[in-house]
């Protein structure tokens, strides 16, 4: 029999690929699960370790810097990550200390670096004897400087709440497919199967699970009774406010959560064009619709290049632009974003967003509504973006939005993680003069 599979070593390899080599968490974990079939228990431990180290990297890295007499050489970088995996367990998990240390130390063997056992053991034990003092708050340290700076400038009053929330495990939120049954009926099914679940106070189709579960364990998930979607994303449907019989464009639709919500709400009474620029993501979108037994006209195209795809005569009654964005409002759900996004990316994204707004505005019917949204909390992508758009479009009028759980800004509404009980989303509604 081969030696025991060491999940800590696997986690060290995975986090190195994500943080040092820029691979996405959504690519690394599934490919790892494909290479090694893990028991459910090891699988969830591995996931916990990888997510945790990505979230708390800045803090753990600062601790490691103080515990190591000299930095671990670059060619042994996996060991550095193994040490962070060990520190994460000691600092943030309930794992028994001796088990956390022993398993992490024996991870050296699986990485073919048995010589480093003493080093890792020494660092972890010295941490247990006397944890080093950090120079700043741990959650603050766990955000790259440029992100921390941008968030602090944008939200000085809320900064601390935001970074704390970004480093917590988010709740698992569901959206009930109204076509298949009511939220109360689904809650009843969940309770029967001993899920601890509550009706979401901020979304009429939403449910919040007290503890995350694999989707395959949810009643009738495969049949399309329910989807996983954060509360903040569920607001889109109400704020677009489409009416029966209207023509609707969902310009950046994949992977299809909000598209599906529109169709679930309005049955077959919308003429919906769902576009996405990526062919691969269009497949995801189609798969989402198939599972939920919904139908839309899916088009693989760059929405802003309106010459490249067909529109209905006279344009659309409603246009939703779920714009590509930095994702800085969803750091708690995607702990790899903070390691990959750069300040230069934001400039690029702002330009892409502007191109979509400008390109699609002519397709909106007079009197029609355009809903612009991002999962960002940076003003440049949100309030300032709409401010600039209004300045250059005399026929665009701001429609006031309000929601019990959002800040009202001059050009839209904003939810903030840690301030509101949801991801950070921005919504703005523009109406075209008749």
């Amino acid at each position: 029999m081969a030696r025991k599979l060491n999940t800590r070593a696997l986690a060290a390899r995975a986090t190195r690929q994500i943080i040092d080599q820029g691979r996405s968490l959504d690519a690394v974990l599934p490919s790892l699960f494909e290479q090694v079939d893990l028991s459910a228990q090891n699988r969830s431990l591995l996931q916990e370790l990888v997510y945790g180290v990505c979230r708390w990297y800045g803090e753990l890295d600062a601790l490691a810097g103080q515990l190591l007499r000299s930095p671990i050489r670059n060619k042994d970088r996996e060991l550095h990550f193994l040490l962070l995996v060990g520190l994460y367990q000691l600092r943030h998990l309930d794992t028994a200390q001796h088990a956390a240390v022993a398993e992490t130390v024996s991870g050296c063997q699986q990485l073919n670096k048995a010589w480093a056992k003493k080093l890792i053991n020494g660092c972890l034990r010295s941490y247990l004897r006397q944890p080093p003092e950090l120079s700043a708050d741990a959650a603050h340290l766990s955000h790259p400087k440029w992100i921390a700076g941008a968030l602090e400038t944008a939200w000085p009053d809320y900064y601390n709440d935001i970074v704390q929330a970004n480093n917590q495990r988010p709740p698992m939120c569901l959206r009930v497919n109204r076509r298949q049954g009511s939220r109360d009926q689904y809650l009843e099914q969940l309770h029967k199967q001993n899920f601890s679940a509550l009706a979401d106070p901020y979304s009429s189709d939403g449910i919040v699970l007290q503890q995350a579960a694999p989707v395959t364990a949810l009643p009738a998930f495969a049949e399309g009774a329910v989807s996983v979607q954060d509360t903040a994303a569920q607001l889109a449907c109400d704020l677009l406010a489409a009416q029966p019989g209207e023509s609707v464009l969902d310009a950046c639709a994949a992977p299809g959560g909000k598209t599906a919500h529109l169709l679930e709400r309005h049955d077959d009474q919308l003429a919906l064009d769902a576009l996405d620029i990526s062919a691969r993501r269009c497949e995801q979108l189609q798969a989402t619709l198939n599972r939920l037994q919904l139908d839309a006209h899916v088009v693989n195209a760059d929405a802003a290049d309106t010459q490249s795809w067909d529109q209905p005569d006279g344009g659309y009654d409603r246009i939703m632009i779920d714009a590509p964005c930095s994702g800085l409002g969803v750091l708690r759900r995607h702990p790899d974003i903070r390691h990959h996004r750069t300040a230069a990316d934001v400039d690029n994204l702002v330009a892409q967003q502007q191109r979509l707004l400008h390109g699609l505005w002519p397709l909106l019917k007079p009197g029609g509504r355009m809903l612009y949204l991002t999962c960002s909390i940076l003003p440049a992508e949100n309030n300032d973006q709409i401010d600039a758009f209004l300045a250059s479009h005399g026929d665009a009028m701001l429609t006031e939005l309000s929601h019990p759980s959002a800040l009202v800004l001059s050009h839209g509404v904003q939810t903030l993680p840690g301030v509101h009980e949801m991801d950070g989303f921005f919504y703005s509604a523009l109406t075209k003069a008749s």
Binding site: M1, A2, R3
Partner: protein, 168 residues
């Protein structure tokens, strides 16, 4: 002492059924020493004679971190087993692959030691898993036999590909 070649799945020789050892003599003791050296070299925690193409009922194991606590089972027999556990198993004949397998939580066995003396052993947890895993080898069985057909095909293809183009 010598490091022996370990057969790699899906080698048909892994399917041979091992015969009981008639007398525990110097040849067997030499085999045990070679198998231990081979197992330590491959950084395994257990090795059955079948895996080195010797079809006799001999198993070596060492579960200790310090790699200095060998256990040798000759002609092992399970006399009692109880409970159930699932463990992510790996095998020196199926390199770099792990998958969960359900086995008895505890086993009681009898076997001969390298001096030819009979002894009893009560094992649970990983030791019980390892004993059952190695005893399967002696019957011509490997752990992937417990997995779905789909997974078995995937492993077989992966390993055949590796053998055609050995990693540098």
């Amino acid at each position: 002492m010598a490091i022996l070649d370990i057969l790699v799945y899906p080698d048909p020789r892994l399917r041979k059924v091992a015969k009981p050892v008639q007398s525990v003599d110097d040849n067997i003791r030499q085999l045990v020493r070679d198998m231990l050296e081979t197992m330590y070299d491959a950084e395994g925690i257990g090795l059955a004679a079948t895996q080195v193409d010797v079809h006799k009922q001999v198993i070596v194991m060492d579960l200790s971190e310090t790699r200095d606590n060998p256990l040798v089972l000759i002609n092992p027999q399970i006399v009692e087993q109880d409970g159930e556990q699932e463990y992510d198993e790996g095998c020196l004949s199926i390199p770099e692959y792990y998958a969960p397998v359900k086995r008895a939580e505890s086993v009681k066995i009898t076997a001969l030691n390298p001096e030819g003396e009979i002894f009893d052993l009560q094992a649970d947890g990983l030791l019980a898993v390892c004993i059952q895993h190695e005893m399967d080898h002696l019957k011509g069985k490997v752990f992937v036999d417990y997995l779905s057909r789909l997974k078995q095909d995937r492993v077989r293809k992966k390993l055949l590909k590796r053998q055609r183009a050995p990693a540098a």
